[in-house]
Subunit: 208 residues, 2 copies
């Protein structure tokens, strides 16, 4: 059944899960309208998206917040932990190395890598930066299943290729380029500026 | 007409614009299927979203990449520049202070602020970190219209309140909390971990 969830719905499920986490825990239920308002989509979309999960909301009552959170976690594969490696220890790599949001969802940073010999061996939080020469070995030893790419654009494809060679099939890319990977590798790109034009759209509306 | 674009569509328009930028410039036209594939939505959604803009695609030919980019910029209010201030100069604030993606869309970082007296006056790239005491004055002098909040969660609401007091009506929030603001203020939250569960969903599918 899971494989029949449309990709666009899958992309919204983490947003719903995060929004449910933001609701007061004391709030036992949540209507599709409430969830839609926090998530920034319309309520019909919320109901349609959530209809792909196991249990529907109850008309006039809404969704049980804890049950729905659990179902979202199951659907998204968040019932077990995942080890991630961060490649590229500039400011963004450092910021992500202690980003609390990862831990909330069961992601554990297991290793930091950089190609710069001056950075290798230096401490970043509780980690020591590892050399790219040791990528294959450490990824296997620490059971890393997701690579987070925070290198400059011109190094990102090389890093992605190296990750794929080690057997990694999931890449989160913060570099501003489109990575070319084979069909059995999943890449999600994070563009830190995507939300800004939504603000300018609203700003423009307010002055018209 | 612009105000009739649904919020969910507005949120996807920057994604389309970014995807068009990723296409080879030599590619004159782009089908809704191509754009859908890069953007990670379905092609019917792309056609529906783009129908809210001025000119439709041509059946069998697709959209002119440059024309569509221009229309997206106009719809999103990206035809003029905006000055942004970053508040909270930790690793993430530093990373954003020289993030190339902002400049691509006409956003210029105009000031960096931090509450830590040890950071005030230090250099970050071409900037000198400013004191929060000078927030009002500098925001006005440098015509800042968007505040980017990269402080820890427990300081974010205070910072948002200070920004709103100075007259700022657009806030990009990287802190992991929901900010409470009045109706005339727009807040977009960036959750750096939202894409990870999409990868685990796909990872789970591939092993089932």
């Amino acid at each position: 059944m899971k494989s029949s969830i449309p990709a666009a719905t899958v992309a919204r499920l983490p947003v719903y899960l995060r929004c449910l986490g933001d609701l007061f825990v004391s709030q036992g239920t949540c209507s599709s309208e409430e969830l839609a308002a926090i998530a920034g989509v319309n309520s019909a979309q919320v109901r349609k998206d959530l209809s792909f999960l196991g249990s529907p909301g109850v008309r006039g009552v809404g969704y049980n917040v804890l049950d729905l959170s659990r179902e979202l976690r199951v659907a998204l594969g968040l019932t077990k932990g995942y080890s991630v490696a961060i490649i590229g220890i500039g400011n963004l790599g450092r910021a992500l190395s202690n980003y609390k949001g990862f831990g909330d969802w069961g992601f554990e940073v297991a290793a930091l890598f950089d190609a710069d010999p001056d950075k290798v061996g230096t401490a970043v939080g509780e980690f020591s930066v590892e050399s790219m020469d040791d990528l294959e070995q450490i990824v296997k030893e620490r059971n890393v299943s997701i690579g987070i790419v925070t290198v400059p654009a011109d190094a990102a494809q090389y890093v992605a290729d190296r990750l794929v060679e080690t057997g990694i099939r999931s890449i989160l890319n913060f570099a501003p380029i489109v990575l070319q990977v084979s069909d059995n590798v999943s890449v999600r790109r994070v563009d830190l500026s995507t939300e800004l034009p939504i603000l300018t759209f609203l700003l423009q509306q307010s002055v018209e």
